[in-house]
């Protein structure tokens, strides 16, 4: 499978799962649909960029680092829109990004140049 496609897929699934955990907080029940969609899009963006990076560079360590950074960055952008729940959004976003970064490194075919460098 193409790494970028794999990144989009993992981002969608993990983003949706991360968003779904908001269900444990009763005050979010009324807006769970929006959280799910937003979190899925955030995951897909992280997956897209991580997948593109994984296609170019074959390194699990750097894949995890980039995924975590992107996850943290996009989670921060979400927090900026509402100015609350900093920890509750950014910490899981950071770890989810790391998982997406790892998975994009481990699945799909890298470019020939990345294979040669590895």
């Amino acid at each position: 499978m193409n790494k970028i496609l794999a990144g989009l897929l993992f981002g969608l699934i993990l983003g949706a799962i991360d968003g779904a955990t908001a269900w444990f907080y009763p005050e979010t029940h009324s807006m769970i649909g929006g959280i799910l969609v937003g979190s899925s899009i955030k995951g897909m963006l992280v997956g897209l960029l991580s997948g593109w990076f994984a296609h170019k560079v074959q390194s699990t360590k750097w894949g995890i680092a980039l995924g975590a950074t992107l996850g943290l960055l996009f989670a921060f952008l979400v927090v900026l829109m509402q100015h609350e729940h900093y920890l509750a959004i950014m910490m899981p976003g950071f770890v989810t990004g790391a998982i997406i970064g790892f998975l994009t490194q481990r699945t799909g075919a890298p470019s020939l140049a990345a294979k040669r460098e590895a």
Partner: protein, 275 residues
């Protein structure tokens, strides 16, 4: 001079040395004895280099012709064949500087290094089998590990050699499957006491008394070793569930740590919120 025992012994030794008159080689010392002849270190005067010279007990030079057809990085190349004035055949080959496998193992190399050596031996065997040649006498003394890690499978068998008892297959007729048995015996010899059960099972499968239930060829045995090295299940061993889980955990350790970190973060946030 008196002919005491020491002088007689010396004369016997000198008389046993091959007469290299008429060849381009100068004898240096004996380096080993096999079932079919003696191997000496010698100097090639023409090219000014050291070579290994195998002098066969008979006039048969089939062994040299056999090896000369096998050009492989793990098979010692033959430089020249010839006949000594006494009628015995000889052949000159590359002199490998290094240690025999049994000596190499005395340095307690890592499991990875042991498997690397075995795989090189297996590759040489697979290559020879593909050309219809069988080794017949796989044993640690016939494997050399060079100074730079190169591996050579030596002493390719001729009809008269039937193998070394501990490494010899109990087959009525020697075939490629007998070499598979020998490779399994070599693997068992090379494994340290703490070797994983999967590797022992590979050696056991290769050494089954019934050739029909051994690995059908050397590449299949090597593939199983490769599967072990990649953390996958091996053909030779139906592993228990706990072992399968442990292997899964070790293969996916990073992912499991990341998932645990995610669960930890979620739990911590939930806990802090309810304080």
């Amino acid at each position: 001079m008196d002919l005491n025992d020491a002088v007689i012994d010396h004369l016997r030794q000198v008389a046993a040395l091959p007469d290299l008159t008429g060849t381009r080689y100068e004898l240096e010392s004996e380096i080993g004895r096999g079932g079919m002849g003696v191997v000496y270190a010698a100097r090639d005067r023409q090219l000014d280099r050291r070579v290994a010279l195998k002098v066969l007990d008979s006039a048969l030079a089939g062994e040299a012709q056999l090896i000369a057809h096998l050009e492989h990085p793990a098979i010692v190349p033959i430089y020249e064949t010839g006949v000594l004035p006494d009628g015995r055949a000889f052949y000159a080959m590359k002199l490998v500087a290094g240690a025999r496998l049994d000596q190499h193992l005395a340095g307690a190399p890592s499991l990875g290094e042991r498997l690397r050596v075995l795989r090189r031996v297996g590759e040489a065997l697979a290559f020879a089998h593909a050309r219809g040649v069988i080794h017949r006498d796989i044993k640690p003394q016939n494997v050399m590990v060079g100074e730079f890690g190169e591996v050579y499978l030596m002493d390719w068998g001729v009809e008269a050699v039937a193998g070394t008892p501990a490494f010899r297959a109990p087959d009525d007729r020697l075939s490629q499957l007998s070499d598979v048995y020998g490779l399994g015996a070599l693997l068992r010899f090379m494994l340290p006491a703490s070797a994983p059960p999967a590797l022992r099972a590979i050696a056991d499968k290769a050494m089954r008394a019934d050739p029909a239930v051994r690995y059908p060829d050397a590449p299949r045995l090597l593939a199983d070793i490769e599967r072990f090295q990649e953390g996958l299940a091996v053909e030779a061993w139906s592993e228990p569930l706990w072992h399968r889980l442990r292997r899964f955990a070790s293969r996916n350790a990073v992912l499991l740590w990341l998932l645990a970190a995610y669960a930890g973060v979620k739990f911590l946030l939930f806990f802090l919120r309810n304080l």
